[in-house]
Symmetry: D2
Subunit: 323 residues, 4 copies
C-alpha cells in the first residue's frame, strides 16, 4: 500500500540536479538509489549498471543533448524518465536544430513524451513513460496565460516580459555570470528569440501567425522568475470574470496560489517554495490585463515540478514531499 519508488538522478551536481536530490531525499515515498555527477560521474560503466538494474524512475538533469541520447536507452531498460532538460519538450523534431543546435536523435519519442506542466497535463501523466519537465520561463508564462487564452483578442500581441535570477543559467564558469558582472546590473538577452518561446507557443496553442513577444531578462538575484504579461481581451472583462477563470483553473492545484484582484506577487514570497503565485490588475476599463506570475526557477520552474510529476505519475498526493 505504501509504495516506495527507487529513483536515480543523473546530473546531480548542477543547481537543478542538486535541488531534485534534496527534494527526493526528503520524500517519504522515494528512495534515492543513485546520484550521478561530480565525484561519481555518469560514465559508460554507470550507464550500463543503471540499464542492467533499472530503477523505477530516472531524473535527467543533464545538458539537453545528453538527455536526448540517454532517455531512449533508459526507457528501453524499463525505467520511467522525467527529463528536466529541453530534450523532449518540443513536438517538432526540426525545432531542435534551430533552438537547441543539435539534430534530435530520437524524434519518435517526441510524440510520446508528455509535457509535464503539472497543472495542465491532465490524465496523460499517470501512464507516461517519458515526461518532459517544462522550462522555467515557460512554466511561469503558461500558468498565467493558459486560463485566459479563450478571452484574448487574436490580433493583438501577447507580451511576456520575464525576469530570472542567475541560477537559471546553471552552475556556470562563464564570466558573464560572475558576481562582478551581475551585481548592480540588469539586462535583456535573447531578444531576437529564446528557446522557451516555441515551448510556450506549443503549450498555449499559439499558431505561428499569432503575435507573441517574449523577452527574458537577467536579474541580480540567485533564485526566482517574475513574468509580467500584457494581455488584450476580445471583450471587456471585470475583475470578477478574470478571478473566476483563474479560480476554476486552479481550484484543485496546491502549487498555484492566486492573489486577490489588484494584488501582484513578488519573488521573495515564492523563493524556496514549490508554488507559482499569480496576480492581475485590469487596465483600460477591463479591455486589458497585466498579469504577474512568480515562482522559484529551481523549484516550480524545475525540481519541485519534477517531483509533482512523479507524484501524479504514481497516484501519490501531489503535495507529497513538497508542502
Amino acid at each position: 500500500m505504501n509504495q516506495t519508488l527507487d529513483v536515480a538522478v543523473v546530473g546531480a551536481t548542477g543547481y537543478t540536479g542538486a535541488e531534485v536530490c534534496s527534494l527526493l531525499e526528503r520524500h517519504p515515498r522515494v528512495t534515492l538509489r543513485h546520484r550521478f555527477g561530480g565525484a561519481r560521474p555518469f560514465d559508460a560503466a554507470a550507464l550500463e549498471a543503471l540499464l542492467a538494474a533499472p530503477v523505477d524512475v530516472v531524473f535527467l538533469a543533464t545538458p539537453h543533448e545528453a538527455a536526448a541520447g540517454l532517455a531512449p536507452r533508459l526507457l528501453e531498460a524499463g525505467s520511467r524518465v522525467i527529463d528536466l532538460s529541453g530534450a523532449f519538450r518540443l513536438k517538432d523534431p526540426a525545432a531542435y536544430a534551430r533552438w537547441y543546435g543539435f539534430t534530435h536523435p530520437a524524434p519518435a519519442l517526441l510524440g510520446e513524451a508528455v509535457y509535464g506542466l503539472a497543472e495542465w497535463c491532465g490524465p496523460s501523466l499517470p501512464g507516461a513513460r517519458l515526461v518532459a519537465n517544462p522550462g522555467c520561463y515557460a512554466t511561469s508564462a503558461l500558468l498565467a496565460l493558459i486560463p485566459l487564452m479563450p478571452l484574448l483578442e487574436h490580433r493583438v500581441p501577447i507580451v511576456c516580459d520575464a525576469k530570472s535570477g542567475v541560477s537559471g543559467a546553471g552552475r556556470s564558469a562563464d564570466p558573464a555570470y560572475s558576481f562582478a558582472e551581475v551585481s548592480g546590473n540588469f539586462s535583456a538577452y535573447a531578444v531576437e528569440g529564446h528557446r522557451h518561446e516555441p515551448e510556450i507557443r506549443q503549450a498555449a496553442g499559439l499558431d505561428p501567425g499569432r503575435p507573441f513577444l517574449f523577452v527574458p531578462h537577467l536579474l541580480p538575484v540567485v533564485r526566482g522568475i517574475l513574468s509580467t504579461l500584457y494581455l488584450t481581451f476580445r471583450d471587456p472583462v471585470t475583475p470578477g470574470d478574470v478571478a473566476g477563470v483563474f479560480d476554476a483553473a486552479y481550484t484543485a492545484s496546491p502549487c498555484v496560489r492566486l492573489l486577490a484582484p489588484g494584488q501582484v506577487p513578488d519573488i521573495r514570497s515564492v523563493a524556496g517554495t514549490p508554488r507559482c503565485d499569480i496576480g492581475f490588475v485590469l487596465r483600460e476599463d477591463g479591455r486589458r490585463a497585466v498579469v504577474v506570475s512568480a515562482l522559484d526557477n529551481l523549484m516550480k520552474g524545475a525540481a519541485s515540478q519534477a517531483v509533482q510529476n512523479l507524484n501524479r505519475m504514481h497516484g501519490f498526493d501531489e503535495r507529497e514531499g513538497l508542502l
Copy 2:
C-alpha cells in the same frame, strides 16, 4: 565672455539633490552659492534670504508639493528655476489631485513651464524661466518611444515594462527599501497606474483613447533604469528604417547613444554616466520591435538632465560639466 552662473540647490541631502550638487561643484561655468538641506535647512529665513538676493538659477530637489509652492516665489524674485520634482510636469491642473494628491497652488505656471526632456524641448529652453525636469521613468520611456511614434499602429497597445534601482525611491526610511527586504527580491508596483504614465502620455502625444500600458518594477540594484518597450508598426519596417529614424533624432545629442541594430544596452554601461543608451530588435518580419533603453535614474533620469537643461538654457555646450 566666460559667463559664470550663481546657483542654489534646495533639497541637497536627498539622493537626487546630492547628485545635482556633485555635478554643479565640478561644472566650470557655475558657482554653487547655496545648498540647502540637512545641517542647513531651507526654512523661512533661508527662503527670505534667497528671495532678497536671488541667484541666477535655483534647482529644486524637494518633495513635489514643496516645489509647487516655492517656484512662483523664486521666479518672482528673478531667479530661473529648474524643478526636479513633478510639480510642473503636467499641463492639466486637475491631474495633480489625482496623481500627486494635492491641489496645485500655481496652475497658471503649468502652461509656462517647459518640459525639460533635453533632446526634445527644442528652442523653448533658452528663454524658459521655469523648467520641469522629467521623471526618471518618463525620460527612459520617451527617448525610446518619441522617434518611433509616427510609425506605430494606433490600435495596438504600446507596452513599456520598466525596471528601476532603489535610489529612485529617494533616501527613504521606509522598511520596504531596507536591504533585508530588497536583496534577493524583485516586484512590480503601481500596476494600476503610476504618476509617470500621464507624463509619458502628454510628452509623447498619446491621446486618452490610445492604449498604453506602463508598469514599473523594483530592482535590487542601487542605480539605473532599464525599460523594455514592445511596439507594433503600422507597416513592416527594416532594421535600417528604424536605425535611420533613431539616427536622425539623436545625431546631435551627445547624451543619447544608439546601439547597433540587434544590440540592447544594460544598466552597468550607463550607471554613473549622463547617457541614455538605446537599442532595438525587430520581430515578426519587421511588424514589431522590442526597444530597450537604459539610463542612470539619478543622472540622465534626474541630475545630469537638469545640468543639460542648465547648459542649454544659457547657451553652453550641452556636455559642459558632464562629459
Copy 3:
C-alpha cells in the same frame, strides 16, 4: 506521553519573532496559541488575557526594556519564559545602565535566569523558569571560544572579528539599513564596545583584566554571522589536540558541526539551518590558532536556539522541530 506544549510569542512581527513562529508552527510537540505583534498588538488587554490564562511557555522577541518588564509578570502567572532579548543575559544589574541604557526593573531575576547557550548550559535548563537566550554574536564567539579557554595564554588578547548580515539589526526603518546604503558597502561599528562583549566575557569567564577585543562589522547579506577568532596558546598544540578538545565538547551536540582541521566554514552553508559550523587552522608552529565559526543569526543566533532550549527544558530531543 506525547506532551504538547501551549506557547505564545510576543513580538512576532520582527525578523526574530517571525522566525520563532515559523519554527514553532512546524514543531510537532508545540501548539502556538498566540502570536502578538502587527495586526494583533500586545497591548494591556492582551497582557491581561495572557496572565489570566497562562500558556506553558512565552517567547519574548520584544525590545530589551519591554522584555525586562514583561518577564516578571509572566513568571508570576505561571508561564515559563524564553527571552530572546538581552534583558536577562547579564548578571550584573549595573551593566544594564551602561550597555542597554535603562535601569533594570527586575534585578532579582538576573541571578535566577539561565543563560541559554544550549550546548553549555547543562543541567540547569530543565528546571529553569526564565531562560536568557544568548545574543547572536555571543553565540558565534562563545561556541568557538569556550572549549579552548583552558589552553589559552592569559596575557595575549583574545581577538574576535565578527561580521553579521543586516537582519541582525531587526526590521528597521533606519535609512542606515536601506538597500542603497548597505549594498556594495562594508563597515565596522561599535568599535569602542558592543553590548555582546560583556555577555561574552561573562559566559567565557574572562575576568575584567583579561585582554579581549571584539569588533562587529555589517555585511551586505541578509542572514548569517561569521566570526574569526585569533587565539594564542600557553603551549604549542597540534591540530589533533585542538580537534580533540572540540570533539569532546560537542560530540553530543547536533547543532554544532566541526570541520576537519584546516577547513573553515562559510555563511552560505549555515544560512537557514539551526547549526553553528566551526573550523580552525593552526599558525606559527601551533602557538596560535585562527578559529572561524558561522551560524545564521536568526536561527542558531536567535530563534532555533530558543527552540533548542525549549526542547531541553522539556526533555524533548534537542533536534525536535529543527533537524
Copy 4:
C-alpha cells in the same frame, strides 16, 4: 616643460588593467600609446614591436609569472616598468617558489625593484627603472600599520583581519566567483597563509619571529578592501599620541585621509577613489588599538597607486590625473 609620457599597458582586459587604462586616458601628461589584451593580444610580434620602439613606461597587469619574464626585456629595451603583479614585490627569490609557485627567472632584479608603496618609498622612486606596485591587501595593511610599528609590543601578535570585494580575484571564470555562489555568502580563505603576508612582513620590517596573523575574507561586493587591525602597544597611549603619529606620517599624502579619533571608515566612502581612509579606536586604557583602513582594491590597491608612482617617478604632482 610640460613633459608628456608615452606609455603602454600590457594586460588591459583584466579588471586592474582596464582601470589603469581608464586612468591613463584621462591623465593630462600621458599618452596611452598601446593597450594590449583582448582583441589586441600581447603576442611575440607585439613584444618585438614594443622592444623595437620602446615607450617611456610600460604598465604590466599580467599574471605574475608573465610579468617576471617580460620586465627584464622591457627594461633592457629602455622602458621603465611599473609592474602591478607580484613578480617583483619580494626580495627573497626563494619566496617565489613557495608563495607564487614558480622559480623566479630574474632574481637579480628583485634587489633593484622599488616597492611602490607610494607614501613610504621615499626618494628611491624618481630614479627607479622597475617599480613593484604593492598588493591590494598589503597596501591596506601597511598604510595602517607602518606608522605605529615603533610603538608596538613585540611579543603580542599583530592581527590583520582583511575583507575584500570580488574584483580582487580578477576577471575570473572560476564558478567560485559566480553571482550564485558569492551573493549572500561570506568566507575566510587562505587561512593557512596568503601571499600578501610575506609582502607585509617585508615592508613593515617584521622579522620571522615576530607574531603576525593575516587572514583575508571574500565580501559580496565588487570593489573595496576593509582591514581591521588589532594592535598592542608597549606602553599605554592616548588618542592624541596616535593621531599625532598618523598626522606626521601622512601630512603630505593626498591619497591618505585620516579620520578623527574614534571614527572608522567604510568601503563606500573610498570606492572609486584613489584614497586610503584610516581611523582608529583605543581600547583597554590605551594599551591596544583597533585600526581600520579602507581603500578601493582596483584603485589605491592597484591602478591609482600605479599612477601615483608614475607621477612621483617623473616629478609630477602626486595627484595628477587622480584627484
